[in-house]
């Protein structure tokens, strides 16, 4: 990496004052960058809001951490003891109703396939979260890649300064044996955007360049002494990080660039902001974005907790679908809503619902989904799947197919073990348009 190429408006001025990321970016844009990646091609879409037809499918996973109650969201059973106090409302899918606390999502139902027949065996959070991220049951220290890492791995055609897998509000599950470069980049606080991309205090571009030079010298010495390829790969990661610092695409993480009306529409809370950031990242070409909404582990006071959560989910999810559609991004962006399992139909003495993996719901939207249907069904109290059960392997095979990946493709782990994207699943064709 040539340190003399560091772009910045602050360069050469020791009276530079605050050198915020924003200035860095604006300066960078005007300063005629000589970065290796033609980011401006991707930049234009973000600026102009137009979407040229993209060569690849993208995905947003809305991850409902803790296990969302299917009965109180997408598979309501009003009028039964198990169904609880919530009523149900009509959606834009004829004959399909969902919880009364999702009115705006109901308006977007025509974009969705509501899967009411998810079924698995993992009723423990850690294991269920692993299963529903990777498609596999946990197996000791062997680490399966999560869906985002698969997408990052398969998207070799994406040339982008930004990470290929971004996880907002939570850490997701890692890339497993696929390796570091497919690990999620985690944003824990969407208000702050990307961390550590601005120069620390009392640093400017020229001083940063000196640091880079000093670093490069040390790396060179060590490389010479050890002859190890690992040193070169560390250099590569540093180089990527440095490009990212100076890339205008970093602004995809900056919600301040959106109007206050837009921010309000998604919701001024972490999940709303996360969804808005997800839309910006999709526009910038990031192939996989996960946004977490935590708090679904409703063992106590299920209904109050869920009403609160749906108040966050409803504007964010509906605005996301609407916004993606208006920007012509929805056809190529698969949106998944799910958690690790459902909740017991029986309402406990604590007015809560406990873990329930036998029957639960997930939602697929956009991205080539045969939308406007409820797929599968549970019995009258949401306890058993009675039609078109969706197993985890089949679910992952379907999602992989929708994302343009071959579910049967095998990738060898470093130990030579063949691993497929889906654990011997078959795509469900009636979910694919």
């Amino acid at each position: 990496m040539s340190a003399t190429q560091q772009p910045s408006s602050c360069q050469g001025s020791h009276f530079a004052g605050i050198c915020s990321r924003r200035q860095l970016l604006q300066g960078g844009l005007g300063a005629g960058l000589s970065l290796s990646i033609p980011f401006w091609q991707q930049r234009s879409r973000l600026q102009a809001g137009v979407s040229p037809s993209r060569p690849y499918k993208q995905c947003i996973l809305l991850w409902m951490n803790g296990g969302p109650s299917h009965l109180d969201t997408f598979d309501p059973k009003p009028g039964t003891r198990e169904g609880g106090p919530f009523r149900s409302i009509k959606t834009r899918i004829p004959g399909v109703e969902i919880s009364e606390h999702l009115p705006r999502v109901a308006e977007q139902a025509h974009q969705m396939a509501i899967l009411r027949s998810m079924t698995s065996k993992e009723g423990n959070h850690d294991r269920g979260q692993y299963l529903m991220h990777t498609g596999y049951i946990p197996a000791g220290s062997f680490r399966h890649p999560s869906l985002g890492a698969w997408v990052s791995h398969e998207r070799t055609d994406v040339a982008l300064d930004l990470p290929h897998f971004v996880s907002i509000n939570g850490p997701s599950i890692g890339a497993g044996f696929l390796g570091v470069e497919h690990q999620p980049y985690t944003v824990l606080d969407p208000k702050n955007g990307m961390n550590n991309v601005a120069y620390p205090k009392d640093l400017n571009a020229s001083r940063f360049s000196r640091r880079q030079e000093a670093f490069a010298f040390l790396q060179g010495q060590f490389q010479q002494q050890t002859q190890l390829p690992a040193v070169a790969s560390q250099n590569k990661v540093y180089q990527q990080a440095t490009s990212l610092m100076h890339s205008p695409l970093v602004s995809a993480f900056d919600l301040e660039e959106e109007t206050s009306q837009m921010r309000a529409k998604y919701g001024e809370h972490d999940f709303g902001r996360g969804c808005l950031m997800a839309r910006r990242l999709i526009e910038s070409g990031v192939p996989f974005v996960e946004v977490m909404l935590d708090g679904w582990d409703t063992h106590y006071d299920n209904f109050a907790a869920i009403e609160h959560l749906l108040g966050l989910l409803d504007p964010a999810m509906s605005t996301l679908l609407e916004d993606l559609d208006q920007r012509d991004l929805l056809d190529d962006t698969l949106v998944i809503w799910m958690g690790e399992f459902g909740r017991t139909p029986r309402i406990s003495a604590n007015d809560g619902r406990d873990h329930y993996p036998a029957a639960w719901s997930a939602v697929l939207a956009g991205g080539g989904v045969r939308a406007g249907q409820a797929y599968g069904a549970t019995d009258e109290i949401g306890a058993k799947v009675v039609r078109d059960a969706v197993t985890v392997p089949n679910f992952f095979a379907t999602v992989a197919t929708l994302l343009g990946m071959d579910p049967d493709k095998e990738v060898y782990s470093p130990q030579g073990r063949p691993i497929r994207i889906s654990d011997s699943g078959t795509p469900i064709h009636s979910l694919i348009a």
């Binding site: 049951i137 197996a139 062997f142 985690t186 550590n196 010298f217 990080a241």
Partner: protein
């Protein structure tokens, strides 16, 4: 000024004078090194013989022996998770003894840092890094592990205790508890916390047990039979059944604050899994009625606790996996790659790379009654451990013909950053002595920022873009490499005037070696190159009035929390808290366990952010020279040489 050197003006000179004139005093945590008899286990020669034959057969030219400095850094990092101090490096160099490497191994194995480091490693494996739970006394468990390593309890003893422990998990009384158990202190056993960590998922407990103590992954058999695997679903279920008659009970209701006191007991019957208990014991149901067996298919004794029978079978010298699992793991950790890879996959279809060496090591470990320190001695004195970390295209490090480049655990990375910068004192001051809290917080932040799973190993090998950004621009490294009072660089620049000596001291402090001549001349040039002092404006309010303003509004927040009505929403109070004073007020408002949970989470988050915020406000030195040294120090801490064991 903190830590003023009294013997000499120069850090290096100090080390020298000690080496030359004074009795050799080890600087490891102030421990005086008594001359420990160095011991070379007889098996080492056999191991070396196996290695040499293997290299010869594969026509590999092994790397040259590691230099003294390289060995010293390596052994310190492996055994204690810390860097050797400059003083230790110097005295090691000056030590004329021919078996000083063996002596050093003994010295470190006897140190407190060894027990702390390996307790930390096993704590991560057994419990994971970041979980929070009201039924687990994490500190008590970790202390128990540390004590076990400090007393060199055998691996057999440690394993048996982990698998069979009964009794109360903690000695802490929760707030609001109505009474203490009668047998509380008599039946206190912190090792039960391992069981408590996993019993809510019997498959998890079963999997952890087989993976950590036997090096086999029977979890794969949990859901389906696989034609090529040795164990079927039925074997998994029968193995899992060993845990189903052990379950905990508590004397504390849920409306207490703090840790619940849990009593783990082996019983004659399985727990009820209906109603409210389904949540807790639901995973027992599937295995409770299965006939318990060990992995060789034998039924366990019906006349004693199932777990005792299981532990007897696991730790028996006839068990084909137990010794090998431990030996393989240690070989892998110390030499970069297990004899069998992955290190916990010893199934028959996955042969060892050097089967005879593996057998011999395992036999020797059994012959020494699973002596943990003995195995360290053997591996660390083997030729493989003594080679330089220098691959050639000819050997590519195959068959351990070169020492590997090993990533560091996050704990060790944090240790050595704090050690090199002398940042611990400063962090202690910022957090008013609560640096443990910070440690957890920093680890949490690192692990989460790297996007890694809780239980997985985290290290430099998994350097991500986020990790590189944090190392480059994050407040920890960029803050602690400043010339700020109380930090190493300030001390160095104030007390040492010669640039050569400064550069030499920086190298010893970080890379544990002296710079080469060409490195020295490069850095002299770097330091003396003309540069302008860089000062950026702080974004924090700095003026006098701004500070007064902030202080005023802060006081009203604290007061607001203090005066909040009793029925105020606890979550809202927590959201208001922004300073340590606010949190003290919030602590007084906790009403139940749920509040305590929210409080601990919020306080940890606060503890994670606050010191970083303060560190980020530290200014750079005022002179071009000071800033040049900061840049050099920063580069050293970012370098691959610093961030690996090699």
């Amino acid at each position: 000024m903190l830590g003023l050197l009294t013997h000499s003006k120069s850090a290096t000179r100090l080390a020298r004078s000690r080496c030359l004139g004074l009795a050799i005093v080890s600087c490891l945590g102030g421990m005086i090194s008594i001359s420990l008899a160095a011991e070379v286990p007889s098996v080492v020669a056999e191991i070396d013989q196996h290695l040499r034959e293997a290299w010869q057969n594969a026509e590999l030219e092994p790397a040259p022996p590691a230099s003294e400095e390289a060995f010293l850094r390596r052994i310190h990092l492996d055994l204690t998770g810390k860097l050797p101090t400059p003083e230790a490096i110097c005295s090691f160099q000056q030590d004329p003894s021919s078996d000083k490497r063996a002596e050093k191994i003994e010295e470190l194995l006897a140190s407190e840092a060894y027990a702390e480091h390996w307790a930390g490693y096993w704590n991560t494996q057994l419990m994971g890094r970041l979980f929070r739970s009201a039924i687990i006394d994490k500190d008590a468990f970790r202390d128990w592990l540390q004590e076990s390593f400090a007393e060199n309890r055998s691996w057999e003893e440690i394993t048996t205790e982990l698998l069979t422990a009964e009794g109360w998990n903690t000695l802490r009384t929760p707030q609001g508890a109505r009474r203490d158990p009668d047998d509380w202190e008599a039946r206190y056993n912190p090792a039960t916390n391992f069981f408590l960590r996993h019993f809510q998922s019997i498959p998890e407990l079963t999997g952890k047990t087989s993976e950590l103590f036997l090096g086999v992954r029977i979890q794969c058999a949990q859901c389906h039979d696989h034609p090529s695997e040795s164990w079927k679903q039925a074997d998994f279920n029968a193995f899992a059944a060993n845990f189903t008659k052990t379950w905990p009970n508590s004397i504390d209701g849920i409306y207490v604050t703090g840790l619940l006191r849990m009593d783990t007991k082996d019983r004659w019957f399985s727990p009820p899994t209906t109603g409210r208990l389904e949540q807790l014991f639901g995973s027992y149901a599937e295995y409770a009625s299965v006939d318990p067996r060990t992995l060789d298919g034998k039924s366990v004794s019906k006349w004693q606790s199932r777990r005792v029978s299981l532990a007897d079978w696991i730790t028996s010298k006839n068990n084909p996996y137990f010794a090998k699992a431990y030996v393989n793991r240690m070989w892998g950790l110390l030499l970069g790659r297990g004899l069998v890879e992955p290190i916990d996959d010893l199934r028959p279809g996955n042969p060892a790379e050097m089967p005879e060496l593996f057998e011999r090591l395992a036999e020797d470990f059994k012959d020494h009654d699973h002596d943990v320190r003995h195995l360290f001695r053997v591996i660390c004195q083997s030729e493989a451990y003594q080679l330089a970390c220098a691959e050639t295209s000819q050997n590519e490090g195959n068959l351990w013909s070169a020492y590997p480049l090993k990533p560091l655990d996050v704990e060790v990375s944090l240790n050595i950053v704090l050690q090199a910068t002398e940042g611990s004192g400063l962090l202690d001051r910022i957090t008013q002595g609560k640096s443990d809290l910070i440690r957890t917080a920093v680890l949490r932040q690192t692990v989460v920022a790297l996007g890694t799973d809780e239980m997985a190993e985290v290290g430099g090998e998994s350097l991500t873009i986020a990790g590189a950004l944090t190392a480059m621009n994050g407040p920890l490294v960029s803050g602690l490499t400043r010339k700020t009072e109380g930090l190493y660089l300030d001390r160095l620049l104030e007390e040492v005037t010669s640039d050569r000596e400064r550069i030499e001291a920086l190298y010893l402090q970080t890379l544990s070696r002296e710079p080469t001549a060409s490195e020295m001349s490069h850095w002299l040039q770097f330091i003396h190159a003309p540069r302008q002092v860089v000062k950026t404006k702080s974004e924090e309010p700095t003026g006098f009035w701004a500070r007064i303003q902030t202080a005023r509004s802060r006081m009203s927040v604290s007061a607001g929390i203090r005066n909040a009505p009793d029925d105020a929403d606890f979550k809202q109070l927590i959201d208001m808290a922004e300073t340590a004073a606010d949190f003290r007020e919030v602590a007084g408002k906790m009403k139940n366990n749920a509040d305590a949970g929210l409080y601990v989470t919020a306080l940890e988050d606060f503890a994670a952010k606050e010191p970083f915020r303060i560190l980020a406000t530290y200014s750079s030195g005022d002179t071009p020279e000071a800033q040049a040294y900061e840049d050099l120090f920063w580069a050293l801490l970012n370098s691959s040489e610093f961030n690996h064991n090699h």
